[in-house]
Amino acid sequence: MSPRRVAYFSGRDGSCQVQEQQVLPLRFAQGQDDNLDLLTRRRARLIAKVTTLLATFVSALREIFDESAYARFLTRNRITSSRAAYAAFLREHDVAKARRPKCC
């Protein structure tokens, strides 16, 4: 069984990272490891999926509210968050934001 790509969201910039993990389909895993309780595995998978959903939701909010843009700005300029850094971010970001149309 080949490893599968799964996504996680880094806390800092909200971007989607991809890494390989051994996530086995349920019926395959059952045959491989009889000691694992079916319900436990199902619950674990459900929790993982809910976590992914929540992470995606938070990432969407961070993108909508420009927190991700600020995080990218800090990463790009290799600086930490501060009043001066945020003021610089706003200077760069304001022009784009002010030109962005709001729909009706």
Binding site: R4, R5, V6, A7, F9, G14, S15, C16, V18, V23, K49, T52, L53, T56, F57, S59, A60, L61, R62, E63, I64, F65, D66, E67, S68, A69, Y70, A71, R72, F73, T75, R76, S81, S82, R83, A85, Y86, A87, F89, L90, E92, D94, V95, A96, K97, A98, R99, R100, P101, K102, C103, C104
Partner: protein, 726 residues
């Protein structure tokens, strides 16, 4: 491709198409929501079962549509509208958008998007598709899908619902999807740039003028909705007034105290706004404060014009950005709340499916069901303004080309669902209540008894006592003549929630929450729209005299801000002074300009499809284009030349002029009518020009006189596909 809905796991049926899509999954092949909801996804369910499930969805949708279309003389539950909508969207997304993606656009999972090629961590950023979906939905969702369906409910719930469903699935979603994809393939170029490159200079110029016009008319109408919602309402005026210092506080908090913590600041702002709503009750019950915030419509109009000018000239970080965050937060929360409320409480629709006003004699706005229902509801069905968003920020964030389907088509479906919810909110009201709120004094009379008697004579019984007790229940002095749609929507929303959450005791809080939500929303659009318009004017004037184009030069800022604010302020003032309530003439004008912009977007899309050598599939955009041309040109003709003075601008001017020697006020009304007719005429002529230029271009390409060459960015293979296959 992982879809928004179960069963959308693949974008095409052929193995080749499946292979091309295979690399497009940021959350793992075959996963995403389709993996979470186990699953109609093609890999885990036998084909016959899937076919049976989709047949069941189609049958359920047909049953729901038949129920809402064929029931006469008895009330139906709002859930039928929800079920009809969900089934239509599921079928539209699964089959129609898949067809467009595979056959017409040939989405290429191997092709790098501008977000990948031009990634600069600033404008161009490859972003997870669900994040882009949320971002795009937050940008396209405005007050339009809430107000338009409420106004169109005067025809009954049936015409609006059918137009929202069919218009979205075959028109609006397709327009947003193709515009987004074509912008992605052109390095995120704007609609005006694409029009200039693909159609010609006239196309670019018309698109530019259409955008400016729509912004000005939109802002005038939006401001009028706020004025009508807040006039003589100390509670509402106090709450909205408080949002200005709250936004300023948020701006300072963000910049000085907690730099970059926008979500945290938005939550704080939301709590303060909730306190402002609660404080509004105190303000309305304290005579000295209530007097201060009980404002007449002209006073409110002047205050909003001053506010718009100040917001355009102030630094972005101080007012515009914090208010934008706050309103987005409230908007997403309220839409989610309304959706949950409708599904959980399942209210009954009291409005009949069709009313007598389909004949054009409606009190909310005059005009027959065709064409006026189709321009009144724009944003929930098809909106040209969306093309600006689809060719603005969103194409610069799309990570993989196939994801344009979910973002473009899917987000418009969500917007359309908001319009369905607004229809429900309006139609749960007793029709008599709905017409009492939405009818101008010029139609039903000024005195409560007269208005109630007029409305009752139409077959929608209502008494002055009932309206008085409803006004008291929502904490208002009166609910008569509150045109514009916002108060009716707020009463509908309060009605839905007060039936379970807190009962009648908190109806006033729910009402003012909804009013605050809409007004906040609209004021944000005034801020942002004035500024966008200002930049567009500065860009244009910069070609004449360079200093005027400098966006940081204060004389230019003040002059262009005054120009834009003066333009929409004029329409606002015209609406405030209009004895027919303003909405009667201005909302159709807004609808016409918005749909004409959609015509421009569909002209661009059809031209590109033909140049791609896919002329056989051009009907995908040509059919909605022809429909829009028919609707908007017919509506424009009626608004200009209809002999009924309630519909035709010129007939109304003629009626006023023939009444004797006109006073100063009447002369101004006559001038306004003629101005509206001229604006409509200019818009129609310009769109006719772009249509003509497009048709000539299609003829040249199809006849072989001109090579079919699109101006796409050169193909570059995406590294994401290789990474995912490794």
């Amino acid at each position: 491709m992982s879809g928004l809905l179960p069963g959308c796991a693949d974008a095409g049926d052929s193995p080749q198409y499946r292979r091309r899509f295979a690399g497009s999954l940021p959350l793992g092949k075959g996963k995403g929501l389709a993996g979470i909801l186990p699953s109609l996804s093609t890999g885990t369910m036998p084909k016959p079962v899937r076919i049976l499930i989709w047949l069941a969805v189609a049958a359920l949708g047909a049953l729901a549509v038949a129920t809402i279309a064929l029931h006469r003389g008895e009330q139906i539950n709002a859930m039928w509208l929800v079920v009809a909508a969900l089934c239509s969207y599921a079928l539209g997304y699964r089959f129609y958008s898949k067809f467009v993606a595979a056959k017409v656009l040939a989405l290429d999972a191997q092709r790098a998007t501008p977000a990948e090629r031009l990634d600069n961590g600033r404008d161009f950023v490859p972003t997870n598709k669900w994040v882009v979906f949320g971002h795009h939905f937050a940008a396209i969702a405005g007050p339009g899908p809430l107000v338009g369906p409420v106004l169109a409910a005067q025809f009954g719930y049936l015409p609006g619902t059918l137009w929202i469903l069919a218009g979205a699935v075959f028109g609006g979603c397709v327009q947003d999807f193709v515009t987004l994809l074509f912008s992605v393939r052109r390095d995120g170029k704007s609609l005006t740039e694409m029009a200039r490159e693909e159609i010609g200079r006239v196309g670019g110029f018309v698109a530019y003028v259409a955008v400016i016009s729509i912004i000005v008319i939109l802002l005038g109408v939006a401001a009028l909705i706020v004025v009508n919602a807040l006039k003589s309402s100390p509670w509402g005026a106090f709450t909205i007034a408080m949002t200005i210092p709250i936004a300023l506080l948020m701006g300072v908090y963000l910049r000085r105290l907690r730099p970059g913590k926008v979500l945290e600041t938005s939550v704080l702002g939301f709590i303060l706004v909730m306190l402002a709503i609660w404080g509004g009750q105190w303000a309305s019950q304290t005579p000295s404060v209530a007097r201060m915030f009980t404002l007449a419509a002209p006073t409110l109009a002047i205050l909003i014009i001053i506010y718009g000018f100040a917001a355009s000239a102030l630094p972005v970080w101080l007012l515009l950005a914090p208010r934008d965050y706050l309103s987005t937060f409230v908007k997403l929360g309220t839409i989610a709340l309304l959706a949950v409320g409708i599904v959980v409480l399942r209210p009954t629709l009291h409005m009949p499916p069709l009313t007598r006003f389909i004949d054009g004699s409606g009190p909310v706005f005059a005009g027959k069901i065709f064409p006026f229902a189709f321009i009144t509801i724009a944003c929930g069905a098809i909106s040209g303004f969306h093309a600006l968003i689809s060719s603005g920020t969103t194409p610069k964030l799309i990570r993989r080309e196939p994801e344009a389907r979910m973002v473009g088509y899917g987000a418009m479906m969500a917007e359309s669902m908001v319009a369905i919810m607004a229809t429900i909110a309006a139609c749960v009201l007793q029709p008599g209540t709905y017409f009492a709120i939405n009818s101008p004094a010029g139609v039903v009379g000024q005195a409560p008894e007269t208005a109630a008697a007029t409305i009752s004579s139409w077959g929608f019984p209502i008494t002055a006592a009932e309206m008085h007790s409803l006004a008291q229940a929502v904490g208002e002095q009166t609910l008569y003549n509150r045109t514009g749609g916002a108060p009716a929507f707020a009463v509908g929303m309060a009605h839905i929630f007060s039936s379970s959450l807190g009962g009648q005791a908190v109806m006033a809080l729910w009402y003012h929450f909804a009013i605050m939500f809409e007004a906040l929303f609209i004021l944000t659009i005034l801020d942002a729209g004035t500024r966008v318009g200002r930049f567009m004017v500065q860009d244009a004037l910069g070609h004449i005299w360079k200093p005027l184009g400098r966006t940081s030069w204060y004389p230019s800022i003040l002059a262009t801000s005054a120009l834009i604010v003066g333009a929409w302020g004029y329409f606002l003032w015209q609406g405030v002074k209009d004895p027919l309530g303003g909405i009667n003439s201005l909302w159709p004008l807004f609808g016409i300009s918005n749909q004409l912009l959609a015509t421009v977007a569909l002209c661009v899309a059809t031209t590109i499809i033909i140049k791609m050598g896919k002329g056989g599939y051009a009907a995908v955009t040509l059919a909605p284009l022809l429909w829009l041309v028919t609707v908007t040109f017919t509506a424009s003709w009626h608004k200009m030349f209809d002999p009924n003075p309630r519909i035709g601008f010129l007939a109304h001017a003629q009626q006023l002029a023939s009444a004797g020697t006109p006073s100063h006020e009447i002369s101004r009304l006559i001038f306004n009518d003629r101005l509206d007719a001229i604006v409509t005429c200019i818009l129609v002529v310009m769109v006719a020009l772009i249509l003509l230029e497009s048709v000539l271009e299609w003829a040249r390409v199809l006849s072989g006189r001109k090579p079919a060459r699109v101006k796409e960015a050169a193909f570059v293979a995406t590294r994401f596909a290789a990474e995912e296959q490794a």
